[in-house]
Subunit: 272 residues, 2 copies
Protein backbone atom coordinates (compact mmCIF):
# COMPACT_ATOMS: atom_id res chain seq x y z
CA UNK A 1 0.00 0.00 0.00
CA UNK A 2 1.25 3.43 -0.91
CA UNK A 3 0.23 6.73 0.67
CA UNK A 4 -0.06 9.65 -1.75
CA UNK A 5 -0.36 13.22 -0.59
CA UNK A 6 0.29 15.35 -3.69
CA UNK A 7 -1.54 15.78 -6.98
CA UNK A 8 1.65 14.94 -8.82
CA UNK A 9 2.10 11.61 -7.04
CA UNK A 10 -1.50 10.64 -7.71
CA UNK A 11 -1.33 11.66 -11.38
CA UNK A 12 1.92 9.78 -11.93
CA UNK A 13 0.42 6.64 -10.44
CA UNK A 14 -2.92 7.00 -12.21
CA UNK A 15 -1.58 7.52 -15.72
CA UNK A 16 0.09 4.11 -15.65
CA UNK A 17 -3.03 2.24 -14.56
CA UNK A 18 -5.06 0.76 -17.38
CA UNK A 19 -6.97 -1.71 -15.19
CA UNK A 20 -10.24 -0.95 -13.36
CA UNK A 21 -10.04 1.52 -10.47
CA UNK A 22 -12.41 1.60 -7.50
CA UNK A 23 -12.56 4.82 -5.48
CA UNK A 24 -13.85 5.05 -1.91
CA UNK A 25 -13.97 8.75 -0.92
CA UNK A 26 -13.97 9.21 2.86
CA UNK A 27 -13.34 11.83 5.52
CA UNK A 28 -11.37 9.27 7.53
CA UNK A 29 -12.26 8.00 11.04
CA UNK A 30 -13.03 4.78 9.22
CA UNK A 31 -15.62 2.45 10.75
CA UNK A 32 -17.29 -0.78 9.63
CA UNK A 33 -19.49 1.23 7.26
CA UNK A 34 -16.45 2.46 5.36
CA UNK A 35 -14.86 -0.98 5.57
CA UNK A 36 -17.87 -2.50 3.83
CA UNK A 37 -17.41 0.03 1.00
CA UNK A 38 -13.70 -0.74 0.76
CA UNK A 39 -14.34 -4.49 0.71
CA UNK A 40 -16.86 -4.11 -2.08
CA UNK A 41 -14.40 -1.95 -4.02
CA UNK A 42 -11.69 -4.58 -3.42
CA UNK A 43 -13.93 -7.33 -4.83
CA UNK A 44 -14.95 -5.38 -7.91
CA UNK A 45 -11.76 -3.61 -9.08
CA UNK A 46 -8.13 -4.29 -9.92
CA UNK A 47 -6.92 -1.20 -8.09
CA UNK A 48 -8.52 0.34 -5.00
CA UNK A 49 -7.95 3.97 -3.99
CA UNK A 50 -9.28 5.28 -0.68
CA UNK A 51 -9.25 9.04 -0.25
CA UNK A 52 -9.08 10.44 3.28
CA UNK A 53 -9.81 14.15 3.33
CA UNK A 54 -11.90 16.15 5.79
CA UNK A 55 -13.35 18.51 3.22
CA UNK A 56 -13.75 22.01 4.65
CA UNK A 57 -16.13 23.26 1.95
CA UNK A 58 -18.93 20.93 3.02
CA UNK A 59 -18.93 22.22 6.60
CA UNK A 60 -20.92 25.34 7.37
CA UNK A 61 -19.58 28.06 9.69
CA UNK A 62 -20.13 26.85 13.25
CA UNK A 63 -20.29 23.18 12.28
CA UNK A 64 -17.93 20.55 13.68
CA UNK A 65 -15.07 20.85 11.14
CA UNK A 66 -12.42 21.51 13.79
CA UNK A 67 -13.48 18.69 16.05
CA UNK A 68 -14.26 16.19 13.30
CA UNK A 69 -12.55 12.98 14.47
CA UNK A 70 -9.08 12.39 12.97
CA UNK A 71 -7.62 8.89 13.19
CA UNK A 72 -4.94 8.81 10.51
CA UNK A 73 -2.86 5.96 11.93
CA UNK A 74 -5.84 3.69 12.60
CA UNK A 75 -7.22 4.54 9.15
CA UNK A 76 -3.97 3.54 7.45
CA UNK A 77 -3.94 0.26 9.36
CA UNK A 78 -7.52 -0.49 8.32
CA UNK A 79 -6.75 0.27 4.67
CA UNK A 80 -3.70 -1.97 4.79
CA UNK A 81 -5.70 -4.86 6.23
CA UNK A 82 -8.36 -4.33 3.55
CA UNK A 83 -5.64 -4.57 0.87
CA UNK A 84 -6.13 -1.04 -0.42
CA UNK A 85 -3.57 -0.15 -3.10
CA UNK A 86 -3.37 3.61 -2.56
CA UNK A 87 -4.51 6.06 0.08
CA UNK A 88 -4.85 9.61 -1.20
CA UNK A 89 -4.50 11.94 1.78
CA UNK A 90 -3.96 15.52 0.64
CA UNK A 91 -3.62 18.74 2.63
CA UNK A 92 -6.38 21.34 2.27
CA UNK A 93 -3.98 23.63 0.37
CA UNK A 94 -3.38 20.81 -2.11
CA UNK A 95 -7.07 20.55 -2.90
CA UNK A 96 -8.14 24.18 -2.79
CA UNK A 97 -7.04 27.66 -3.69
CA UNK A 98 -8.82 30.95 -3.14
CA UNK A 99 -11.75 32.06 -5.28
CA UNK A 100 -12.36 28.83 -7.16
CA UNK A 101 -14.73 27.66 -9.86
CA UNK A 102 -17.60 26.26 -7.77
CA UNK A 103 -20.22 23.57 -8.12
CA UNK A 104 -23.83 24.35 -7.31
CA UNK A 105 -26.21 21.55 -6.36
CA UNK A 106 -29.57 21.65 -8.19
CA UNK A 107 -32.40 23.62 -6.60
CA UNK A 108 -34.27 20.44 -5.75
CA UNK A 109 -31.50 19.70 -3.26
CA UNK A 110 -32.59 22.60 -1.07
CA UNK A 111 -34.77 20.35 1.08
CA UNK A 112 -33.94 18.27 4.16
CA UNK A 113 -30.15 18.29 4.62
CA UNK A 114 -29.83 20.96 1.94
CA UNK A 115 -32.23 23.18 3.86
CA UNK A 116 -30.66 22.62 7.28
CA UNK A 117 -27.16 22.91 5.88
CA UNK A 118 -27.32 25.39 2.96
CA UNK A 119 -24.23 25.05 0.78
CA UNK A 120 -23.30 21.66 2.26
CA UNK A 121 -24.01 19.73 -0.93
CA UNK A 122 -22.21 22.33 -3.08
CA UNK A 123 -19.09 21.50 -1.07
CA UNK A 124 -19.70 17.76 -1.27
CA UNK A 125 -20.11 17.82 -5.05
CA UNK A 126 -17.07 20.07 -5.42
CA UNK A 127 -14.72 17.74 -3.58
CA UNK A 128 -16.19 14.60 -5.13
CA UNK A 129 -15.77 16.06 -8.63
CA UNK A 130 -12.16 16.94 -7.86
CA UNK A 131 -11.51 13.43 -6.55
CA UNK A 132 -13.22 11.89 -9.57
CA UNK A 133 -11.11 13.95 -11.97
CA UNK A 134 -7.91 13.07 -10.14
CA UNK A 135 -8.50 9.35 -9.69
CA UNK A 136 -10.64 8.71 -12.81
CA UNK A 137 -12.36 5.75 -11.17
CA UNK A 138 -14.21 3.02 -13.02
CA UNK A 139 -16.43 2.60 -9.96
CA UNK A 140 -16.99 4.90 -6.98
CA UNK A 141 -18.54 3.69 -3.73
CA UNK A 142 -20.95 5.67 -1.56
CA UNK A 143 -23.09 4.61 1.41
CA UNK A 144 -26.87 4.84 1.33
CA UNK A 145 -26.73 6.41 4.78
CA UNK A 146 -26.06 9.78 3.18
CA UNK A 147 -29.01 9.22 0.91
CA UNK A 148 -29.43 12.73 -0.42
CA UNK A 149 -25.70 13.03 -1.04
CA UNK A 150 -25.76 9.77 -2.99
CA UNK A 151 -28.62 10.85 -5.24
CA UNK A 152 -26.98 14.23 -5.89
CA UNK A 153 -23.69 12.57 -6.83
CA UNK A 154 -25.64 10.31 -9.19
CA UNK A 155 -27.22 13.40 -10.70
CA UNK A 156 -23.87 15.15 -11.09
CA UNK A 157 -22.48 12.13 -12.91
CA UNK A 158 -25.48 12.24 -15.25
CA UNK A 159 -25.53 16.01 -15.81
CA UNK A 160 -21.79 16.37 -16.35
CA UNK A 161 -21.55 13.18 -18.45
CA UNK A 162 -18.95 11.60 -16.18
CA UNK A 163 -17.95 8.14 -17.26
CA UNK A 164 -18.09 6.66 -13.75
CA UNK A 165 -20.26 3.94 -12.24
CA UNK A 166 -21.65 5.01 -8.86
CA UNK A 167 -22.13 2.02 -6.56
CA UNK A 168 -24.64 2.61 -3.73
CA UNK A 169 -23.75 0.53 -0.64
CA UNK A 170 -26.01 -0.71 2.15
CA UNK A 171 -26.03 0.96 5.57
CA UNK A 172 -23.96 -0.92 8.12
CA UNK A 173 -25.41 -1.07 11.64
CA UNK A 174 -24.36 -2.04 15.13
CA UNK A 175 -25.93 -5.32 16.27
CA UNK A 176 -28.64 -3.36 18.07
CA UNK A 177 -29.55 -1.41 14.91
CA UNK A 178 -27.70 1.93 15.32
CA UNK A 179 -26.39 3.07 11.94
CA UNK A 180 -22.61 3.44 12.01
CA UNK A 181 -21.33 7.02 11.91
CA UNK A 182 -18.04 8.71 12.72
CA UNK A 183 -20.09 10.99 14.95
CA UNK A 184 -21.43 8.16 17.16
CA UNK A 185 -18.39 8.54 19.41
CA UNK A 186 -19.80 11.83 20.65
CA UNK A 187 -22.81 10.09 22.25
CA UNK A 188 -22.92 9.51 26.00
CA UNK A 189 -24.38 6.32 27.41
CA UNK A 190 -27.95 7.58 27.66
CA UNK A 191 -27.84 9.18 24.20
CA UNK A 192 -26.38 5.99 22.74
CA UNK A 193 -29.32 4.04 24.17
CA UNK A 194 -31.93 6.61 23.10
CA UNK A 195 -30.47 6.67 19.59
CA UNK A 196 -31.73 3.13 19.06
CA UNK A 197 -35.22 4.54 18.70
CA UNK A 198 -34.22 5.98 15.32
CA UNK A 199 -33.65 2.64 13.62
CA UNK A 200 -36.57 1.16 15.56
CA UNK A 201 -38.91 3.79 14.10
CA UNK A 202 -37.54 3.16 10.60
CA UNK A 203 -38.04 -0.61 10.88
CA UNK A 204 -41.55 -0.07 12.15
CA UNK A 205 -42.40 2.27 9.27
CA UNK A 206 -40.91 -0.16 6.73
CA UNK A 207 -42.96 -2.94 8.22
CA UNK A 208 -46.13 -0.85 7.85
CA UNK A 209 -45.25 -0.15 4.21
CA UNK A 210 -44.81 -3.92 3.84
CA UNK A 211 -48.41 -4.16 4.99
CA UNK A 212 -49.40 -1.73 2.20
CA UNK A 213 -49.68 1.40 4.33
CA UNK A 214 -49.17 4.25 1.83
CA UNK A 215 -50.14 7.32 3.85
CA UNK A 216 -47.11 9.44 4.77
CA UNK A 217 -49.09 10.91 7.67
CA UNK A 218 -49.78 7.52 9.25
CA UNK A 219 -46.17 6.40 8.89
CA UNK A 220 -44.79 9.63 10.30
CA UNK A 221 -47.22 9.60 13.25
CA UNK A 222 -46.06 6.09 14.16
CA UNK A 223 -42.42 7.15 13.93
CA UNK A 224 -42.89 10.31 15.99
CA UNK A 225 -44.64 8.19 18.61
CA UNK A 226 -41.68 5.82 18.85
CA UNK A 227 -39.21 8.75 18.97
CA UNK A 228 -41.37 10.95 21.26
CA UNK A 229 -38.52 11.41 23.76
CA UNK A 230 -35.99 12.41 21.08
CA UNK A 231 -35.16 15.80 19.59
CA UNK A 232 -36.26 14.85 16.08
CA UNK A 233 -35.19 17.40 13.45
CA UNK A 234 -37.16 15.82 10.65
CA UNK A 235 -38.82 12.70 9.38
CA UNK A 236 -39.17 12.64 5.59
CA UNK A 237 -40.67 10.09 3.26
CA UNK A 238 -39.52 10.67 -0.32
CA UNK A 239 -39.20 9.00 -3.67
CA UNK A 240 -35.83 8.47 -5.37
CA UNK A 241 -35.95 12.09 -6.60
CA UNK A 242 -36.42 13.27 -3.01
CA UNK A 243 -39.95 14.47 -3.64
CA UNK A 244 -42.37 14.09 -0.73
CA UNK A 245 -46.02 13.20 -1.25
CA UNK A 246 -49.02 12.28 0.88
CA UNK A 247 -49.46 8.91 -0.79
CA UNK A 248 -46.12 7.15 -1.07
CA UNK A 249 -44.99 4.61 -3.66
CA UNK A 250 -44.74 1.11 -2.20
CA UNK A 251 -41.45 0.78 -4.04
CA UNK A 252 -38.73 3.42 -4.59
CA UNK A 253 -39.43 5.11 -1.28
CA UNK A 254 -36.81 6.33 1.17
CA UNK A 255 -37.72 7.11 4.77
CA UNK A 256 -35.28 9.46 6.49
CA UNK A 257 -34.78 10.61 10.05
CA UNK A 258 -32.49 13.21 11.58
CA UNK A 259 -32.36 13.56 15.36
CA UNK A 260 -30.19 15.68 17.61
CA UNK A 261 -28.39 14.51 20.71
CA UNK A 262 -26.87 17.63 22.19
CA UNK A 263 -24.65 19.00 19.43
CA UNK A 264 -24.58 15.69 17.59
CA UNK A 265 -26.88 15.21 14.61
CA UNK A 266 -27.54 11.61 13.67
CA UNK A 267 -28.91 10.64 10.25
CA UNK A 268 -30.51 7.35 9.38
CA UNK A 269 -32.76 6.04 6.65
CA UNK A 270 -34.24 2.98 5.05
CA UNK A 271 -34.67 2.34 1.30
CA UNK A 272 -37.82 0.50 0.31
Amino acid sequence: MEILTTIEQLRNIRKNITASVGLVPTMGALHDGHISLIKKAREENDIVIVSIFVNPTQFLPGEDLDKYPKKDEADKKICEICKVDYIFMPEISTMYEEDEVLIKAPSKSYVLEGKTRPGHFDGVLQVVLKLFNLTKPTNAYFGKKDAQQLTLIQQMVKNLFLDINIVPCEIVREKDGLALSSRNIYLNEKQRKDALLISKSLYQAASLVGKKERKSKVLKAKMYEIMKDLDVEYIAIVNRDFIQSEEIELKNTIILVVARFGNTRLLDNIWI
Copy 2:
Protein backbone atom coordinates in the same frame (compact mmCIF):
# COMPACT_ATOMS: atom_id res chain seq x y z
CA MET B 1 -15.81 12.68 -41.36
CA GLU B 2 -18.66 11.51 -39.18
CA ILE B 3 -21.41 13.63 -37.66
CA LEU B 4 -22.46 12.61 -34.15
CA THR B 5 -25.59 13.94 -32.51
CA THR B 6 -26.16 11.70 -29.46
CA ILE B 7 -24.19 11.06 -26.28
CA GLU B 8 -24.22 7.35 -27.05
CA GLN B 9 -22.65 7.81 -30.50
CA LEU B 10 -19.94 10.05 -29.09
CA ARG B 11 -19.19 7.70 -26.18
CA ASN B 12 -19.00 4.67 -28.46
CA ILE B 13 -16.54 6.45 -30.72
CA ARG B 14 -14.49 7.92 -27.88
CA LYS B 15 -13.98 4.73 -25.92
CA ASN B 16 -12.17 3.13 -28.85
CA ILE B 17 -9.75 6.03 -29.35
CA THR B 18 -6.42 5.65 -27.58
CA ALA B 19 -4.58 8.25 -29.70
CA SER B 20 -4.48 11.98 -28.92
CA VAL B 21 -7.73 13.91 -29.29
CA GLY B 22 -8.01 17.62 -30.09
CA LEU B 23 -11.31 19.33 -29.30
CA VAL B 24 -12.45 22.60 -30.85
CA PRO B 25 -15.67 23.71 -29.11
CA THR B 26 -17.69 26.14 -31.23
CA MET B 27 -21.17 27.61 -31.54
CA GLY B 28 -21.01 27.12 -35.32
CA ALA B 29 -21.13 29.87 -37.95
CA LEU B 30 -17.49 29.00 -38.50
CA HIS B 31 -15.16 31.71 -39.79
CA ASP B 32 -11.41 31.93 -40.38
CA GLY B 33 -10.90 32.33 -36.63
CA HIS B 34 -12.43 28.92 -35.99
CA ILE B 35 -10.61 27.49 -39.00
CA SER B 36 -7.27 28.54 -37.51
CA LEU B 37 -8.20 26.66 -34.32
CA ILE B 38 -9.22 23.58 -36.28
CA LYS B 39 -6.03 23.66 -38.34
CA LYS B 40 -3.93 23.88 -35.19
CA ALA B 41 -5.87 20.97 -33.70
CA ARG B 42 -5.39 19.01 -36.93
CA GLU B 43 -1.61 19.55 -36.77
CA GLU B 44 -1.27 18.58 -33.13
CA ASN B 45 -3.60 15.59 -32.68
CA ASP B 46 -4.40 12.21 -34.17
CA ILE B 47 -8.14 12.75 -33.92
CA VAL B 48 -9.94 16.09 -34.19
CA ILE B 49 -13.43 16.66 -32.81
CA VAL B 50 -15.29 19.92 -33.51
CA SER B 51 -18.39 20.55 -31.43
CA ILE B 52 -21.08 22.78 -32.88
CA PHE B 53 -23.62 23.76 -30.24
CA VAL B 54 -25.27 27.11 -29.64
CA ASN B 55 -25.28 26.84 -25.87
CA PRO B 56 -28.43 28.42 -24.39
CA THR B 57 -27.09 28.66 -20.82
CA GLN B 58 -24.48 31.25 -21.74
CA PHE B 59 -27.04 33.65 -23.21
CA LEU B 60 -28.87 35.97 -20.84
CA PRO B 61 -32.58 36.71 -21.23
CA GLY B 62 -32.95 39.26 -24.02
CA GLU B 63 -29.63 38.38 -25.65
CA ASP B 64 -29.32 37.18 -29.23
CA LEU B 65 -29.76 33.42 -28.70
CA ASP B 66 -32.66 33.12 -31.16
CA LYS B 67 -30.98 35.09 -33.89
CA TYR B 68 -27.49 33.70 -33.36
CA PRO B 69 -26.32 32.79 -36.88
CA LYS B 70 -26.83 29.13 -37.85
CA LYS B 71 -24.92 27.78 -40.84
CA ASP B 72 -24.94 24.01 -40.37
CA GLU B 73 -24.33 23.02 -43.99
CA ALA B 74 -21.49 25.50 -44.52
CA ASP B 75 -19.98 24.47 -41.17
CA LYS B 76 -19.99 20.79 -42.16
CA LYS B 77 -18.31 21.63 -45.45
CA ILE B 78 -15.61 23.65 -43.68
CA CYS B 79 -14.94 20.82 -41.21
CA GLU B 80 -14.71 18.34 -44.05
CA ILE B 81 -12.18 20.48 -45.91
CA CYS B 82 -10.18 20.89 -42.67
CA LYS B 83 -10.08 17.08 -42.32
CA VAL B 84 -11.99 17.01 -39.04
CA ASP B 85 -12.70 13.44 -37.91
CA TYR B 86 -15.91 14.03 -35.97
CA ILE B 87 -18.44 16.82 -35.61
CA PHE B 88 -20.45 16.64 -32.40
CA MET B 89 -23.71 18.47 -33.01
CA PRO B 90 -26.22 17.71 -30.25
CA GLU B 91 -29.73 19.03 -29.64
CA ILE B 92 -30.29 21.18 -26.54
CA SER B 93 -32.32 18.38 -24.95
CA THR B 94 -29.35 16.05 -25.41
CA MET B 95 -27.08 18.35 -23.43
CA TYR B 96 -29.42 19.61 -20.72
CA GLU B 97 -32.22 18.54 -18.45
CA GLU B 98 -34.17 20.60 -15.93
CA ASP B 99 -32.71 21.61 -12.57
CA GLU B 100 -29.13 20.57 -13.14
CA VAL B 101 -25.96 20.56 -11.10
CA LEU B 102 -24.45 23.94 -12.06
CA ILE B 103 -21.01 25.46 -12.39
CA LYS B 104 -20.30 28.82 -10.81
CA ALA B 105 -17.46 30.96 -12.13
CA PRO B 106 -15.17 32.40 -9.43
CA SER B 107 -16.07 35.78 -7.94
CA LYS B 108 -13.14 37.43 -9.67
CA SER B 109 -14.95 36.79 -12.96
CA TYR B 110 -17.65 39.30 -12.05
CA VAL B 111 -15.85 42.11 -13.87
CA LEU B 112 -15.97 43.22 -17.52
CA GLU B 113 -17.95 40.58 -19.48
CA GLY B 114 -18.98 38.92 -16.22
CA LYS B 115 -20.42 42.21 -14.99
CA THR B 116 -22.21 43.12 -18.23
CA ARG B 117 -23.44 39.56 -18.70
CA PRO B 118 -23.98 38.12 -15.19
CA GLY B 119 -24.19 34.33 -15.37
CA HIS B 120 -22.69 34.20 -18.87
CA PHE B 121 -19.48 32.52 -17.73
CA ASP B 122 -21.35 30.04 -15.52
CA GLY B 123 -23.04 28.84 -18.70
CA VAL B 124 -19.80 28.79 -20.66
CA LEU B 125 -17.99 26.72 -18.02
CA GLN B 126 -20.98 24.38 -17.72
CA VAL B 127 -21.09 23.50 -21.40
CA VAL B 128 -17.31 23.34 -21.73
CA LEU B 129 -17.09 20.95 -18.78
CA LYS B 130 -19.78 18.75 -20.32
CA LEU B 131 -17.96 18.74 -23.64
CA PHE B 132 -14.64 17.97 -21.93
CA ASN B 133 -16.15 15.04 -20.04
CA LEU B 134 -17.76 13.65 -23.16
CA THR B 135 -14.83 14.02 -25.55
CA LYS B 136 -11.98 13.62 -23.03
CA PRO B 137 -9.62 15.68 -25.17
CA THR B 138 -5.83 15.65 -24.89
CA ASN B 139 -5.83 19.25 -26.13
CA ALA B 140 -8.65 21.80 -26.32
CA TYR B 141 -8.42 24.92 -28.48
CA PHE B 142 -9.78 28.34 -27.55
CA GLY B 143 -9.27 31.74 -29.16
CA LYS B 144 -7.66 34.61 -27.29
CA LYS B 145 -10.44 36.85 -28.57
CA ASP B 146 -12.66 35.66 -25.73
CA ALA B 147 -9.86 36.43 -23.32
CA GLN B 148 -11.79 36.28 -20.08
CA GLN B 149 -13.47 33.06 -21.15
CA LEU B 150 -10.08 31.55 -21.92
CA THR B 151 -8.59 32.42 -18.54
CA LEU B 152 -11.68 31.09 -16.72
CA ILE B 153 -11.51 27.82 -18.62
CA GLN B 154 -7.84 27.58 -17.68
CA GLN B 155 -8.81 28.17 -14.08
CA MET B 156 -11.54 25.52 -14.20
CA VAL B 157 -9.06 22.99 -15.56
CA LYS B 158 -6.72 23.83 -12.68
CA ASN B 159 -9.36 23.91 -9.92
CA LEU B 160 -11.12 20.73 -11.00
CA PHE B 161 -7.87 18.90 -11.79
CA LEU B 162 -8.86 18.17 -15.36
CA ASP B 163 -6.18 16.36 -17.30
CA ILE B 164 -6.53 18.54 -20.41
CA ASN B 165 -4.08 20.88 -22.13
CA ILE B 166 -5.75 24.20 -23.00
CA VAL B 167 -4.22 25.71 -26.13
CA PRO B 168 -4.75 29.49 -26.47
CA CYS B 169 -4.91 30.55 -30.12
CA GLU B 170 -4.14 33.92 -31.69
CA ILE B 171 -6.91 36.25 -32.81
CA VAL B 172 -7.53 36.11 -36.54
CA ARG B 173 -8.29 39.42 -38.23
CA GLU B 174 -9.52 40.73 -41.56
CA LYS B 175 -6.77 42.29 -43.64
CA ASP B 176 -7.80 45.71 -42.37
CA GLY B 177 -7.53 44.63 -38.71
CA LEU B 178 -11.12 43.81 -37.68
CA ALA B 179 -11.13 40.77 -35.39
CA LEU B 180 -13.20 37.97 -36.89
CA SER B 181 -16.51 37.30 -35.14
CA SER B 182 -19.70 35.47 -36.05
CA ARG B 183 -21.47 38.69 -35.13
CA ASN B 184 -19.64 40.82 -37.73
CA ILE B 185 -22.33 39.93 -40.28
CA TYR B 186 -24.75 42.17 -38.37
CA LEU B 187 -22.70 45.30 -39.16
CA ASN B 188 -23.86 47.69 -41.88
CA GLU B 189 -21.32 49.37 -44.14
CA LYS B 190 -20.73 52.39 -41.91
CA GLN B 191 -20.51 50.28 -38.74
CA ARG B 192 -18.10 47.92 -40.46
CA LYS B 193 -15.86 50.86 -41.29
CA ASP B 194 -16.15 52.45 -37.84
CA ALA B 195 -15.35 49.12 -36.20
CA LEU B 196 -11.80 49.39 -37.52
CA LEU B 197 -11.12 51.99 -34.85
CA ILE B 198 -11.21 49.21 -32.23
CA SER B 199 -8.16 47.36 -33.50
CA LYS B 200 -6.52 50.66 -34.37
CA SER B 201 -6.82 51.81 -30.75
CA LEU B 202 -5.44 48.48 -29.52
CA TYR B 203 -2.42 48.63 -31.84
CA GLN B 204 -1.78 52.20 -30.74
CA ALA B 205 -1.92 51.26 -27.06
CA ALA B 206 0.37 48.25 -27.63
CA SER B 207 2.81 50.49 -29.42
CA LEU B 208 2.83 52.89 -26.45
CA VAL B 209 3.47 49.97 -24.08
CA GLY B 210 6.33 49.02 -26.40
CA LYS B 211 7.69 52.49 -25.70
CA LYS B 212 7.49 51.70 -21.94
CA GLU B 213 4.29 53.61 -21.20
CA ARG B 214 2.94 51.96 -18.04
CA LYS B 215 0.14 54.28 -16.98
CA SER B 216 -3.32 52.78 -17.61
CA LYS B 217 -4.79 56.26 -17.65
CA VAL B 218 -2.54 57.44 -20.49
CA LEU B 219 -3.19 54.32 -22.56
CA LYS B 220 -6.95 54.51 -22.05
CA ALA B 221 -7.06 58.23 -22.88
CA LYS B 222 -5.31 57.57 -26.17
CA MET B 223 -7.71 54.73 -26.98
CA TYR B 224 -10.81 56.73 -26.10
CA GLU B 225 -9.52 59.52 -28.31
CA ILE B 226 -9.17 57.14 -31.27
CA MET B 227 -12.62 55.64 -30.61
CA LYS B 228 -14.30 58.96 -29.75
CA ASP B 229 -17.07 58.41 -32.31
CA LEU B 230 -17.85 54.89 -31.11
CA ASP B 231 -20.22 53.66 -28.40
CA VAL B 232 -17.44 52.17 -26.25
CA GLU B 233 -18.77 49.97 -23.45
CA TYR B 234 -15.41 49.53 -21.78
CA ILE B 235 -11.68 49.67 -22.19
CA ALA B 236 -9.83 47.54 -19.66
CA ILE B 237 -6.15 46.93 -19.09
CA VAL B 238 -5.58 43.85 -16.95
CA ASN B 239 -2.96 41.31 -16.01
CA ARG B 240 -3.38 37.58 -16.75
CA ASP B 241 -5.59 37.29 -13.63
CA PHE B 242 -7.84 40.04 -14.98
CA ILE B 243 -6.85 42.46 -12.26
CA GLN B 244 -6.71 46.13 -13.27
CA SER B 245 -4.12 48.51 -11.86
CA GLU B 246 -2.92 52.05 -12.47
CA GLU B 247 0.61 50.98 -13.33
CA ILE B 248 0.53 48.05 -15.73
CA GLU B 249 3.10 45.29 -16.18
CA LEU B 250 5.04 45.66 -19.42
CA LYS B 251 4.58 41.92 -19.93
CA ASN B 252 1.52 39.80 -19.12
CA THR B 253 -0.90 42.60 -19.86
CA ILE B 254 -4.13 42.27 -21.82
CA ILE B 255 -5.87 45.33 -23.24
CA LEU B 256 -9.57 44.80 -23.95
CA VAL B 257 -12.24 46.77 -25.72
CA VAL B 258 -15.96 46.27 -26.09
CA ALA B 259 -17.93 48.59 -28.32
CA ARG B 260 -21.56 48.58 -29.41
CA PHE B 261 -22.83 49.05 -32.94
CA GLY B 262 -26.59 49.17 -32.60
CA ASN B 263 -27.48 45.83 -30.97
CA THR B 264 -24.17 44.26 -31.89
CA ARG B 265 -21.45 44.09 -29.26
CA LEU B 266 -17.94 43.62 -30.63
CA LEU B 267 -15.07 42.42 -28.45
CA ASP B 268 -11.40 42.75 -29.23
CA ASN B 269 -8.17 42.62 -27.30
CA ILE B 270 -4.43 42.42 -27.55
CA TRP B 271 -2.07 40.31 -25.37
CA ILE B 272 1.24 41.90 -24.50
